[in-house]
């Protein structure tokens, strides 16, 4: 087993000093960008599982992000956490809550396809946001402040690596090809004996879980939450990342997340045109290369990562 996973371990081992090095070298402003890149990688990768790999067009990802953020923040505040070591606890609680939300969204929408699914997930995302907005226990319209800032670059980096590795293992395992099958042709997949219901729900739940973890990291990094940050627009920003990277490609998600986090910072002086550029970018990708940067492929052939012999 060690042998099969040698490449994986090698990469992880190489990343460790990289992470530490980055933390030492980067200062305030750049560290913040790096953290945001990390969070966006998790968001893009988790949405990629739902949209790119399983082909379920979900526009409500910001809802899961919000659930994770608020629940983890509430946990920290309620328990009065002050030590970074305890960060995994609110993250897990937030992630689990988001996973439950994913379940709540995934189950009713099982029968829906394409456009209808998109709109239904959009609706769920907004409903979640309105519920949070009306919940005074988490600050309501004023926002939730004073969250202990337990998350630093190290935590975000570690979570991002964990997320990508976990999703990679899930998707590129033999069981994982079921997700791709559902994307390609759901009816045929069902006819082949794949439990489409189970896999679709799994995609939503796992995708939502990681979005929730990203939300927890966000909450514990900035220390302040407001529902205005979790609107449909946020969901669209994540969709743009996945689409830019190429639906279905994890490497694409990482690249796109990095590019799309740095771009608005680099364009700070043209702040009001930032969203216009986003929109134009999205349209341009769709018209010229809808398969995105990586065209749905990964940078390393997945066969060497799986546990089945190469076909």
């Amino acid at each position: 087993m060690i042998r099969r996973n040698l490449p994986l371990l090698a990469v992880l081992l190489a990343l460790w000093p990289l992470g530490l090095g980055l933390e030492r070298v980067l200062n305030g402003y750049y560290l913040q960008i790096a953290v945001l890149i990390g969070i966006n990688i998790i968001l893009a990768a988790s949405l990629n599982l739902i949209n790119g790999v399983t082909g379920q067009f979900s526009l409500g990802h910001a809802g899961f992000l919000a659930v994770g953020a608020y629940v983890s923040a509430f946990t920290s505040l309620a328990l009065g956490l002050t030590s970074s070591v305890l960060l995994p606890l609110p993250l897990l609680v937030g992630g689990t809550a988001a996973a439950l939300a994913g379940l709540a969204v995934g189950v009713p929408t099982l029968r829906l396809r394409g456009d209808y699914l998109a709109i239904a997930t959009l609706g769920f995302g907004e409903i979640i946001r309105v519920i949070i907005l009306n919940t005074n226990a988490v600050g309501g319209a004023r926002g939730l402040g004073g969250i202990p800032t337990l998350a630093g670059f190290g935590a975000v980096f570690a979570c991002a690596v964990l997320c990508v590795v976990a999703l990679w293992r899930l998707v590129y395992s033999p069981r994982g090809s079921a997700f791709f099958a559902i994307r390609e042709d759901e009816v045929a997949a069902a006819a082949m004996g794949i439990d489409t219901t189970r896999h679709k729900i799994l995609a939503f739940t796992i995708g939502a879980f990681w979005a929730g973890v990203a939300g927890g990291l966000l909450a514990h990094f900035i220390g302040y939450l407001h529902t205005n940050s979790f609107t449909f627009l946020r969901s669209v920003e994540i969709v743009v990342m996945v689409v830019l990277g190429g639906l279905g490609s994890l490497t694409g998600c990482i690249l796109a997340a990095a590019i799309l986090t740095i771009l608005p910072e680099a364009l700070r002086f043209g702040a009001e045109y930032r969203m216009v550029i986003y929109a134009l970018l999205l349209i341009a990708i769709m018209l010229t290369r809808p398969s995105g940067l990586m065209g749905g492929r990964e940078i390393l052939p997945w066969r060497s990562w799986s546990s089945t012999p190469a076909r």
Partner: protein
């Protein structure tokens, strides 16, 4: 009881607006099977262009009914052209692509209109000139119907009847219906599908523009993001009525407006926007075909 009558009047006024926008959604979905996310923003452009026309033509200082009609007409023309442009540039190239591509592009166009609007018009709200001074026109029981409300009802009704005549009483309308049923068969029958689709967008956009101009008159605060919620609500209305179904869109719109007003009045106004989403989820789960839609079974 008086209160209820007034609430109904308020609800029907907004309902007419939603109905006009919903017709645009339903028309485009009928021919392209596409949810035109950008439609709500065309409504916003309608309101904005009406605002600018009113100022450029000096009508803001000389309020009159005629002035408003001129401004509304110009707004409708502008948006018809905009609709055709969007279709030609952003949707036509993707007709053979998978569905999510067109949907994603539609989202992109929507964002472009919203944020481009913010960059172009400025993000602060503008105040639509009072081209018609609001005055109570009718008293039904305890309810006051203003002249602007009457205008909205009248214009909406006229436009809807006009549309009905167009779709059911002309050859162009027949071509439109043919394209809605089966694009390939229609093109085989010699119908220029591209023209018909372009026309569909133009008509739908013009209706949305009329709605926008009228909303500018009634609720004078307009801003680049004003199309977001009404767009979604009108879409829900179209789905509620049965997407692709014209009378359904109208019924859905009116129902949507009234329900929303009653919820705001009797439960809490902070849930006004949530009503749309709850209705949407309910419809999609219980009867996705909508009130007037036909239930189709997917055959494999």
């Amino acid at each position: 009881m008086d209160q209820l009558a007034q609430q109904l009047v308020n609800g029907l006024a907004w309902g007419s607006i939603y109905a006009l926008i919903a017709l645009g959604y339903t028309m485009v979905y009928g021919v392209l099977r596409l949810i035109n996310f950008a439609h709500g923003d065309v409504y916003m452009i309608g309101a904005m262009s009406a605002f600018y026309f009113a100022h450029w033509l000096g009508l803001a200082d000389a309020p009159s009914l005629f002035g408003f009609v001129v401004v509304m007409g110009l707004a409708m023309l502008t948006c018809a052209l905009l609709g055709a442009l969007i279709e030609r540039a952003a949707y036509r190239p993707l007709r053979r692509q998978p569905r999510w591509a067109m949907l994603t592009t539609a989202i992109g166009v929507s964002m472009l209109l919203e944020y481009g609007g913010q960059a172009l018009f400025g993000p602060d709200p503008k105040f639509f000139p009072q081209l018609i001074a609001s005055a109570p026109a009718l008293r039904l029981g305890g309810a006051v119907v203003t002249n602007i409300d009457l205008l909205i009802f009248g214009v909406s009704l006229a436009l809807m009847l006009g549309l009905r005549w167009l779709v059911y009483g002309t050859r162009v309308g027949m071509a439109l219906r043919a394209v809605s049923v089966n694009v390939d068969a229609a093109s085989l029958m010699g119908i220029n599908v591209n023209t018909i689709i372009a026309m569909t967008f133009m008509i739908g956009s013009a209706l949305a523009a009329a709605a926008g101009a009228m909303v500018g008159l009634r609720n004078p605060k307009i801003e680049p993001l004003m199309g977001l919620m009404p767009g979604i609500k009108a879409f829900v209305a179209a789905v509620l009525g049965g997407i692709g179904n014209f009378p359904g869109a109208v019924a859905g719109g009116l129902l949507m407006g009234v329900t929303e007003t009653l919820v705001a009045a009797y439960i809490s106004s902070t849930y006004r926007d949530a009503v749309a989403f709850v209705i949407l989820i309910a419809v999609l789960l219980v009867r996705p075909a909508g009130l007037f839609g036909t239930v189709t079974v997917e055959k494999v």
